[in-house]
Assembly symmetry: C4
Homo-oligomer: 192 residues x 4
């Protein structure tokens, strides 16, 4: 399996996810200002989800960049990550229509948590395939960002049923943390 | 017709199929736990269908990999395969909303059966185009997996109206069988 | 503007059109055999539309294949063609839900007619850009197939309000006519 | 980050936007001529939006064409532009179903305005990255077209609540202005 094809397929899926999410913002039937205000929460959850897909697109690139050999496990670990990301339009649409509600907030967190775990698995498999001296291994280092995210998502899921707004603030904070580009890998790559 | 373009188009269609399926998981209007549990069967059928598209993407790659010349029949046999695969979101959505029901189970099986037959036809045409000494011919061998799948799907379709749960177990078992990568082609390719 | 990018964008749009059409086959809420039979006309119109997009994808490839320079007019003539083709999911969905009805049949014909005219315009502009000695010019020849299609579509649109079934038979016949690959261009290319 | 990947991802998103818009043209349930006429405004807004996406696709190409190095800010400025463009199907669908109404007209204008601003930001960042001697800087010149558009959109948004039809005429005029290809960049590139 060619690396470029894996990259192109993943990019295709991410491009579709980021774009079809908009179909979950239902067009109001009337045209007054109340309708516009009513879809505002949906718009916010759309924005957050858009940023999350953007983050994954960016990080996915860094991950695959160092890969040389696409094995079966790499391909399926990649599809596993895409599976959880493909649920974003659904989770985003549900939380958008039921802002501040416990269960949609929990589901959104579970999806983010599973995607983060899937990312971890993919990262681990790529490092294994590339060997101990893999560039990715050295570039990732102790990967505090990835670990912090998983802990945050887990904590958010736990609090979501009691205090959904805390969970939602966590989702925003983690997104902002990741928005700052992953300098570790970038710096390492430039120093090559 | 360039082989890369055929591959890119097929990958594009498969990426779209795998991603728009999520639009068939209808967002519940309220936000309680019952709603979440009610979409669980839809989620399961989404998962199975996701795996099936992943399997076809992977196998399709192996199939096209050995191809040198894209003729008219190859192009149309490929579109024929994509046609049946493009029905997955519909069949998956219907079985998801009507779990354990006979007709949706039958339709899902018919779609899988037709896709498997279309895959067989495409494989046969590629081997014909490439000639007796085609790498694919040697790599595929007696192709027990493909033949077993077709028999399984056919059997599942037959039982689906009487015992839909048997048919559904068959769909899961065949998916698991294919999840294991097609070592025949891979091994042969590596020995080149 | 790079030719590959025009080709990739067009392929992307065609891949999306051919795949989202399935979203117009509405999933029935119950699961009995009547529901399955009721969507049969939609399935047929889906099949015909799938074949038409496949034909345009194939012919579009031949058209762009001979192109060297992507000018503004070529780009916009190409987008013009994609515009009419992008209406296929809508026209196909409407005729599918209202089989044998005059207006949906007329609309489907108008869309096919406009797409054929847009194809003609694109072909004309490419020949102009490439100059009198253009390979496409020589390969297309007198282009009886294109001209016959336009006449057929026009005739179908005219009869659609009175005898929609005649129009629908014409759509099927023209599709079959085009299914046979455009040997003129292919032969010419191979003789180079 | 490779420039080709940024271009491919952007092209993918634009191809999806331009194609899924058609899903916002709801298929009428009956099949009479009134239904066809009723969707005419939706068709017009679909056409205008299609042209706008086409314009952005074309201009985006010119913008990225001169780029050498994809930095973090370039990537996020690009995603920012795609974000506003991704709202086109929603804004287009709403104005299509509520033609001549103030709020949908305003929203459409806000989206166009934000996309134009995002385009400006992306252009500025690319020029900064490429340095003072950047080809784009020289090619863009004083960029009267971009500035005029922003002023027009702003004016349209302001008038939309009082005289929506004026705003709508402005949207059409600006589209026509951009339809004429950006000869500045093209000419400059050819003179290299």
């Amino acid at each position: 399996m060619n690396k470029n094809r894996l990259e192109a397929f993943s990019d295709g899926v991410l491009a579709i996810i980021i774009t079809i999410m908009v179909l979950e913002i239902k067009i109001p039937h009337s045209s007054n200002i109340q309708d516009l205000l009513q879809i505002f929460p949906t718009f916010i959850s759309y924005l957050i989800s858009f940023i999350y897909v953007g983050i994954y697109w960016n990080n996915h690139h860094h991950l695959i960049h160092t890969l040389h050999k696409v094995t079966g496990p790499v391909m399926w670990a990649n599809l596993h990550l895409l599976f959880w990301l493909s649920l974003i339009p659904f989770a985003s649409g549900w939380i958008g229509e039921n802002h501040y509600k416990p269960y949609p907030t929990m589901l959104y967190g579970v999806m983010l948590l599973m995607a983060a775990v899937a990312y971890f698995i993919l990262q681990g498999i790529i490092i294994k395939v590339e060997g101990k001296s893999s560039k990715l291994k050295q570039a990732v280092g102790n990967d505090w960002k990835g670990k912090v995210s998983v802990v945050c998502y887990f904590f958010a899921v736990c609090t979501s049923l009691k205090w959904p707004w805390i969970a939602q603030i966590i989702y925003v904070i983690v997104a902002i943390m990741w928005l700052l580009p992953d300098r570790r890998i970038e710096k390492f790559m430039q120093s090559q």
